[in-house]
């Protein structure tokens, strides 16, 4: 501590230690106070399995669907250490052979900066509603199409009777540990229909 450089050096290394302690406190306290989510509702509509036929490619089944979601993410978005939420809708299903599949059908990034009620409506004859009030995170999705193609590695949905649909969230903090959970679920397993013959 005798000279300028020595003091600068010493205090900087002290401050580095203390800022890490501060970040640790922030991370731990935000994990302890992480709010629980009231699990919302997912409705699956128009689930169709078709067969893709393309020249030069193997025939394969392709499932498409539309879905509604109603859930309230305000507690999570207003939480202390939330930088962004990553929302994703998954279909989970098993085959008689014992294979277990887990597929993301749709996702969306909600950052704290642009947090607001958000709605997405993709029905043709319905106008896009205005953006919701700022500072709130009510999720209202209506008639949203799946974003990623839903296929099977084997090429066929044969033997798959039902699937469970869940909207998950993945919470990205400003600093610290990531956490994730369920934001909304469909009521019970949904039947997978037969392939449409054309």
């Amino acid at each position: 501590m005798y000279s300028t450089l020595n003091r600068l050096n010493h205090l900087s290394s002290l401050a580095t230690t203390y800022i890490l302690i501060l970040l640790g406190l922030i991370s731990i306290s935000s994990l302890i106070t992480l709010p629980t989510v009231n699990i919302g509702k997912v409705d699956i509509k128009d689930l169709i399995v078709g067969r893709l036929r393309r020249w030069g490619a193997k025939e394969e089944d392709l499932a498409t669907l539309r879905f509604d979601v109603r859930t309230d993410l305000n507690p999570l978005l207003n939480s202390y250490n939330t930088k962004q939420l990553f929302l994703y809708l998954t279909a989970t299903y098993a085959e008689p052979t014992g294979d277990v599949h887990d597929v993301v059908l749709w996702d969306r990034i909600v950052t704290r900066a642009d947090m607001r009620d958000f709605r997405a409506v993709t029905k043709k004859n319905q106008a896009q509603p205005a953006r919701g009030k700022r500072g709130r995170g009510n999720v209202r999705l209506e008639e949203v199409k799946n974003k990623y193609p839903w296929k099977q590695p084997s090429g066929s949905f044969k033997g798959v009777a039902t699937a469970n649909f869940t909207l998950h969230y993945d919470l990205m903090p400003y600093v610290g540990l990531l956490s994730s959970g369920v934001a909304a679920t469909a009521r019970g397993p949904i039947n997978i229909p037969e392939v449409i013959k054309r």
Partner: protein
Amino acid sequence: MFQSEIARFRKLGVQGLLFQALNFLSVIASGLMMWKALCLVTNSESPIVVVLSGSMEPAFYRGDILFLWNPANVPYAVGDITVYRVPGSEIPIVHRVIESHITNTTQLLLTKGDNNNETDTMLYNGMEWLERKHIIGKVRGFLPYVGYVTIAMNDFPKLKYALLGAVGFFLLIQKEHEHA
């Protein structure tokens, strides 16, 4: 110009120089030991990584530090952010799992960057799916910006030499005060 410094090195003698070298090596060895211990605890070959690309924005930006965990015997789930390295490419990639197909023998995974429009099939060097053996770990903890120093040193090599020069200079000054 550097006469006084050179003279001081002479004064240290062979024994003094060797002692300095030993000190230096023990610092490196203890660092390596801590790294390897962390590897053992997290079961990951590289438990701390720096984000190099913007493909996971706005979750991770260039220069953020990620802490990885690779729990043995626990399959990776959809939604996990994984770090993987495919054979034939050097750089590990941080992307999210969007498909998982567990069969009797293996787990097939498909990943995608949150900020990318396409899935990662193009990055797999001809493979159709990712498997567990390619994955280094999943992201558990996050520390923003701190890793930017390493990126800056890679992007601007001159900065690296400037930094090394500054460290050397300060070491010399430090020693002079001890003698004074």
